[in-house]
Subunit: 345 residues, 4 copies
């Protein structure tokens, strides 16, 4: 597409944090034109009254979700940032000329039984086959030609970017343990007991032991990309920061691996992936906050390997990766509109 | 009362932060025996399942609020930690042998018109005359013989302890400005938009400009105690800490005052008040968190004076001061059960 | 200057937070080319190893500060982000073709006696007359033609943007009280006792009562711009956020002022100032973090007025305003390179 | 000892967080009398000027560390809260009638080679054999008769209390992975880059991968207590809270284990241990802050088991456990002086 061409964009679910971040990014994307943004409870309100950070930067007004979404005139792509289960109903109604990126879990799982078990919903069925899994760094070719993209979960992005280089290396044996931690914005924009500031600010705890819904998504993509199906233990924890996911991934190799060997493996694997940065020391969620970067380090001790990955759950873990995927779907450089740095303090 | 005698205590509203703090203190008070604690939404649940900090420390079980509170057999005192407006109805039903300490604003304001304006409720009426205002340090004698105590608001406690020594000195002229800041626990135990962690942790803002309901309480007590009725500007702000109130009070004196003079005035005024500590530098809410202390400093520049006060909104600003008042009402040393220090980090 | 022309930039003091933020902004400024960045203790190190947020975004390497700064070949403008006192020595040595923006307090005060009193240094002397005070919104014309700009202090920016519209209105009488609060990044990038995380995270306190060095800067500019010299009481406090300044400014008017009148006064005053946003409710430092915005609200009660202003101390309070000034000095739109939004959570 | 008898106590290193917490606890311990507290850099200063939380609660004054510690007249027990390496020199000089509890790592490791490798110091030598490892819950009998106690590390306490019940069960096979996280007070009272508030408040990262000095301590005690020597992978991370350690321990059992079986195993193991509380859901560091409790939950999935433990690094992880040990050494109930609850918000 030409440098000045604009992609006409609809955002379903613009009041949550996913929608808020899509807006923050897309309003400054040189090829993006947001023409519709829905938020039922804020219909008629200026976007900037709900997302005060956008005050002065947009005149957009929230609309109610249209009853009929089939005919979104002139829209090129629709982003869905709705609670789990809603895009399942809406996407099939869409005019087939409209591309889709869904940020929920509705279209991430191919196996209907597994989907039902983890999401307590009926599986999408036939339309699922049109969805490409949007982990940009491992799925670029498929994404480029995809009409529909299922954007990965935040935990899944952090875990997969850490695990795939090792999984593909053929060096692994035994069980994989992923100890993952997320900031409070991962719980969404609605106030709830687990994000109540007086307690959360001093808090760290685990939740959903052995049962987090990102587990099957990680397993499925590890198998699809790396033919890897070793046992996976995944544990989710809550961090008292606003933004950030940190995954500590414990692996075992068939032979001793030096630190240098492991580092080279990662550097090589991500040599063409701008948004994955390799670090010699452990990354820090502070380095990547507000950015589309995923920072990774790897450390070995005999046959034990630990991989650390850090990203911003709302950017590389959601809206940023969605825009990265949109860029590919429209023939743009994947970095377009995503070249904003984080801040040091 | 004898050293081993126990005061039999009922707590109405034990699931909020006021009730939680009352329990934390009273369970370790040598003369306290909590015999009843209500929480409608948790009726039948162990207290320690709701307040996990008390796990292992109590077998108390929440009960529903009794329909009839008139006959609380054997109860010596009832604490009310209910939302504004509820104690108004319950207190008049109580058996007259039961003392009362109310932590809400229901019985703090003598003037019915002012009460209606700020609390949007009908005034208590006749029963109000039985209530003594529970700012311990300035009202000890009345509290000792009181049956009913209206425990001061958290902001009011911080402001009054800072203002009264100067107000009583006769040195003040002109307007008083109080810039007050509170931690997030001041908003209570229920999750809400303004205490949603992802935003609150990076947040500072003002609210209710010129209209906070603690204003008339401060004005009334300043007048009652110090015959002081200069104009008062009071502004409330939200701090991203869990606990703490900090008040910056800007005053003007009729003549120049040295720092030393001002310090001596405060030291002298509070020489018999264990829980007001004088500091040469600005106090810090970190010094007083989890304690019943109010730390104060005073600084002058010509005829300008600033007084800083810091306290824990849930302790000296609520439950701690309530227990301090209970101690006086039962002839105990006011420090009984309140001699726990805060922690440095 | 043409859209693709580049301003060649030297940054003295690139390892502190001021320098870090200058880099974050200038690396993405369409007309900026950072050709030199100094940091004595990091000389020879990659900038991105010190500011990990810039990893992957720059190949710049820190250099030691040159002994002789007179001949910075081809440099168009030098930013000074050094500790107070250092630019005083360096600026006079510079080649006269190089423009200067100094972020320290070295060139903000015209009166030598006052400067000495607050900064404990010898005054700049003659060269001071070449410095223009860089509060963009009130000094645009002078800044456009300035060679040397003294960038305002963070507190001073927040206070002045709140006070000047009222001060110029001629409506004020009596004393002005400014209760100002700053985030921890205001203390700089070096670890110190007052920014030690275990205590600071639970902390709020005042410091330097009546003696903060931004006081004379505020008074001088209020007088220069609005001929205003009413008494000013300014108090600085420490907030447990990373970024943000919030100023609560207490004023008195000669006549009663409605909220609407006061709002209109501000809206009109800043109608051409993109980076000052007017809010109906109190602004929040969370709304402006990482941005160049200053958000303001005003509220009245009879003749009492309070103005709240919120900004990011490192952006509008330092590096952002510096770039805004650079834009004017080089004939660019003042918004160039500064159109990045903050984030909601 | 009789209820009113006092243990005369010396604290070496009273300005750090370990010393600060010892003071906070011991000043309110019914059988404790702190007669000496050292802090070289604060010698001559009131303790309450350094630990403002203790203001009004003690008149103690810091002394310089005595050159000769041999003759501490009348002292019954000396606590050492000094940086690693200092107690090594001081303890051998002490009069043999004085009991010792050392909070550093100086006397935790029996094997001289391992000690040298992890602590870069010469091993204590012969005197080491007099030291009992002070993990109260697993070593009570030895502690009761010990003269010298090596108080466990904070990470080691969290890991060992989580691991020992399973390790002793004989049910485990394979590798153990401990993913451990600590609050910022674990880095001590001295300001440093990694505890600089502007960055730390948004931070989470790993450090010392595979090389943390608590590893050999955990391995040694697992072997001594449970004859357990399976491979251990231990990883330390930094949390942006002030207080708290959370350990996620990943285990594998030889046979499938139900949740209920695992829970019963823990409940039974700790049935006589007041300070270990069992929880059905994941514990939270917020529940245990400022307390001597360690909260534990266990969850199974087939042969995979995860144990979560949460404690306050400065209390159960340091000073609180030290006092618990002192109580045993002097024939007191181990709970004496430690029955303070944490707070909910």
């Amino acid at each position: 597409m030409a440098a000045n061409d604009k992609i006409r964009i609809a955002i379903f679910g613009g009041s949550g944090y996913g929608g808020s971040e899509l807006l923050r990014i897309l309003l400054f994307h040189p090829n993006a034109d947001v023409v519709l943004v829905t938020a039922n409870e804020h219909a008629g309100k200026h976007v900037a009254k709900v997302h005060q950070n956008l005050n002065g930067l947009t005149d957009l007004v929230f609309t109610a979700a249209p009853d009929e979404v089939s005919d979104l005139k002139g829209v090129d792509i629709a982003f869905f940032g709705l609670p789990h289960g809603q895009a399942l109903n809406l996407v099939p109604q869409l005019n087939r000329n409209i591309k889709v990126i869904d940020l929920s879990g509705d279209f991430r799982i191919d196996d209907p039984d597994i989907f039902r078990q983890f999401y307590k919903n009926e599986h999408a069925g036939e339309i699922q086959s049109k969805f490409v899994y949007g982990l940009t760094e491992t799925n670029r070719d498929a994404i480029r030609t995809a009409e529909y993209v299922a954007n990965p979960g935040c935990f899944a992005t952090a875990a997969l970017l850490a695990l795939i280089p090792m999984a593909k290396s053929g060096l692994l044996e035994g069980k994989v343990v992923v100890d993952a931690k997320t900031g409070s914005s991962g719980s969404g924009a609605k106030a709830a007991a687990n994000t109540h500031h007086p307690q959360r600010m001093n808090s760290f705890y685990a939740y959903k032991p052995f049962t987090h819904q990102h587990v099957p998504e990680i397993e499925q993509h590890l198998y699809n990309v790396a033919n890897f199906d070793n046992e996976l233990v995944f544990m989710s924890h809550s961090l008292p920061v606003s933004r950030g996911i940190f995954a500590s991934c414990y692996l075992q190799t068939k032979v001793n691996l030096t630190n240098e060997d492991a580092e080279n493996l990662f550097k090589h694997f991500y040599s063409d992936s701008f948004f994955v940065r390799f670090s010699e020391i452990s990354p820090d969620v502070n380095w990547v906050k507000n950015t589309n970067f995923c920072d990774i380090s790897v450390h070995t001790s005999g046959r034990n390997v630990v991989v650390f990955s850090a990203l911003d759950n709302l950017v590389k873990g959601a809206a940023g990766q969605a825009v990265q995927n949109m860029n590919l779907m429209f023939g743009l450089d994947e970095k377009t509109g995503l070249m904003f740095p984080g801040s040091n303090p």
